[in-house]
């Protein structure tokens, strides 16, 4: 404890892929970096994601979550990052003064810049308000993943999954391999919210039925879940009378979405985007609070950890530049970047005037084929890319080059 640094150029909060990559790149840029994580082990949520499919983008290899995490953990240590494990950041001030708690002790930490990389949490039953009894046997898919993969516990024998998010799909296959019977996946939307490859390799491989445009209307059971009533839902998300049927199961997993973990951000006055539930950032990943940066799932939910890590690396470089070089002079009004036709959100939400290159990440509102994504500056096309398939489950990234420096009143990303 006493050996722990109390002052650094950059403090990174969260040791998942985004935080690790961010800490490593800030240290590579010459900053003195402290990384704080509340768990004993670094790697964040990746430690429980023991399936493969990570790293193709970042390393050109197919890795499991823990293997992918190990690469970034090594990278952070090699870069000279000081790690404070088992430590929660309890308070954060706009002056970049933090209060950390570890094993009942509190200590202060001060930084020139702070990177928020706290990840996300899962939506729960309470947020869905499904009527019925409150029996045991209802878990979020991530909790079931933790119990199965980290604690070697069995969550149930006959499992129904509500929501077709990737974690639920991965758990459908995992629990099938563990000997459980997965009786179905029920999805409110007319299309799945997980990646197509997970529909194939997690559901179709095992003949697990996917009920699209359906949802749960009631949970039954006294002590343990006994069954769930499911009905077809219409376009206005209302159950269609007469379509109800009952599915017998002893366990219900919820895979109904992730929410960025922004409690700390909110308290320090970080402005949040109503669509992403993450911070409003500029093209350096800096929030409205000077010196406070955001990346990874706490900024917007990523479907690929590879991209969360890449975003972290970019934010870390910028946080180091801020810490070592002081706030940029400039002062020119930033340019708003707005989602246009067919686009749900765009990150970052603003760009600096004069930027030579800009990377935008966005999601489309509905599944579609053969569309073109365009980035417009005051109505003029700056960049475009053909999307053979557009799907809300898949984040899209586009690089926009502007050799003469970006200058416009407003940027827009849209589908045509």
């Amino acid at each position: 404890m006493s050996a722990r640094t109390r002052e650094a150029d950059v403090v990174v909060i969260g040791g998942g892929p985004a935080g690790l990559a961010s800490a490593a790149s800030a240290a590579d840029a010459g900053a003195k970096v402290v990384l704080v994580d509340r768990n004993r082990e670094l790697g964040g949520i990746l430690n429980q994601c023991i399936h493969d499919g990570f790293g193709l983008h970042a390393f050109g290899e197919v890795l499991t979550g823990p293997e992918f995490a190990a690469r970034y953990i090594d990278r952070a240590f090699d870069a000279g990052v000081e790690v404070h494990p088992n430590t929660t950041v309890a308070e954060l001030e706009a002056s970049r003064e933090l209060v950390c708690t570890t094993l009942g002790e509190r200590y202060p930490l001060r930084a020139a810049s702070v990177v928020l990389a706290m990840g996300c949490r899962e939506r729960t039953r309470g947020m869905l308000q499904i009527p019925g009894t409150r029996p045991a046997g209802v878990y979020t898919a991530g909790t079931a993943q933790w119990l199965t993969n980290m604690r070697n516990l069995r969550v149930g024998k006959k499992i129904l999954i509500l929501g077709s998010g990737d974690i639920g799909l991965i758990m459908a296959r995992r629990l099938t391999w563990e000997g459980a019977e997965v009786v179905g996946v029920v999805e409110l939307l007319p299309y799945p919210s997980g990646l197509p490859r997970n529909i194939t390799q997690c559901l179709e491989d095992y003949g697990i039925p996917l009920h699209l445009s359906h949802s749960a209307t009631c949970i039954h059971g006294r002590e343990r879940v006994e069954s769930v009533t499911v009905a077809r839902f219409d376009g206005r998300r209302q159950p269609v009378p007469g379509t109800e049927f009952e599915i017998e199961c002893d366990t219900l997993l919820l895979s109904v979405g992730l929410i960025p973990e922004n409690e700390l951000s909110r308290r320090v006055g970080v402005r949040l985007d109503a669509t992403t539930s993450g911070a409003f950032v500029d093209d350096r990943h800096m929030t409205n609070v000077p010196g406070v940066f955001s990346c990874g799932n706490v900024l917007h939910i990523h479907d690929l950890a590879d991209w969360a890590a890449e975003e972290g690396a970019r934010a870390g470089t910028q946080a180091a530049a801020y810490a070592l070089g002081g706030p940029a002079k400039g002062g020119a009004k930033p340019i708003r970047i707005e989602p246009g036709d067919g686009i749900r959100y765009v990150v970052p939400q603003t760009a600096s005037r004069g930027s030579k290159e800009l990377l935008v990440s966005f999601r489309v509102t509905a599944p579609d084929e053969n569309r073109t994504a365009e980035v417009l500056a005051d109505g003029r096309v700056l960049a475009s890319e053909d999307l053979r398939r557009a799907h809300p489950a898949e984040m899209v990234q586009m690089k926009v080059g502007c050799a003469d420096g970006l200058d416009a009143d407003r940027l827009e990303v849209r589908l045509t």
């Binding site: 399936h51 499991t64 194939t200 398939r389």
Partner: protein, 125 residues
């Protein structure tokens, strides 16, 4: 002529490829369309002739900071061997410490493939 749509699972792009063949599917008779990269062709041919998957699961660990270590088959194995491989791994336990890449079983379920550790488990203090 048989025509099918498959989702290539080799990378997160998940391309939807269209395959067609007449008679029995063989590497020579299958034609593939819609793949973004050449690996999509290999995937489609393998998927129709001898589908393979990687098994990712865990084995028990004694004396470690965690009760189990996650493991994977070093390469994809025939899909019909997945459950046999999983069963065989239930009977395997290793002593801590284990490191990424340690082999916990070889020739799993007669596939000729090793099973390796994917998450390090140090000894418990």
């Amino acid at each position: 002529m048989t025509t099918k749509r498959l989702t290539c699972i080799l990378c997160p792009n998940g391309c939807e490829v269209e395959v067609s063949y007449s008679g029995e599917p063989t590497p020579e008779s299958i034609s593939v369309d819609g793949n973004t990269c050449p690996r999509g062709v290999d995937y489609a041919i393998e998927e129709l002739t001898a589908p393979k998957r990687t098994l990712t699961t865990s084995v028990l660990v004694y004396g470690g900071t965690q009760p189990q270590a996650s493991v994977k088959t070093a390469c994809p194995i025939p899909r019909e061997s997945l459950f046999d491989a999983r069963e065989a791994l239930r009977r395997i336990a290793v002593d801590a410490p284990v490191a990424i890449g340690d082999v916990v079983a070889s020739d799993i379920a007669g596939t000729g493939v090793d099973v390796i550790v994917t998450r390090p488990v140090p000894c418990s203090p």
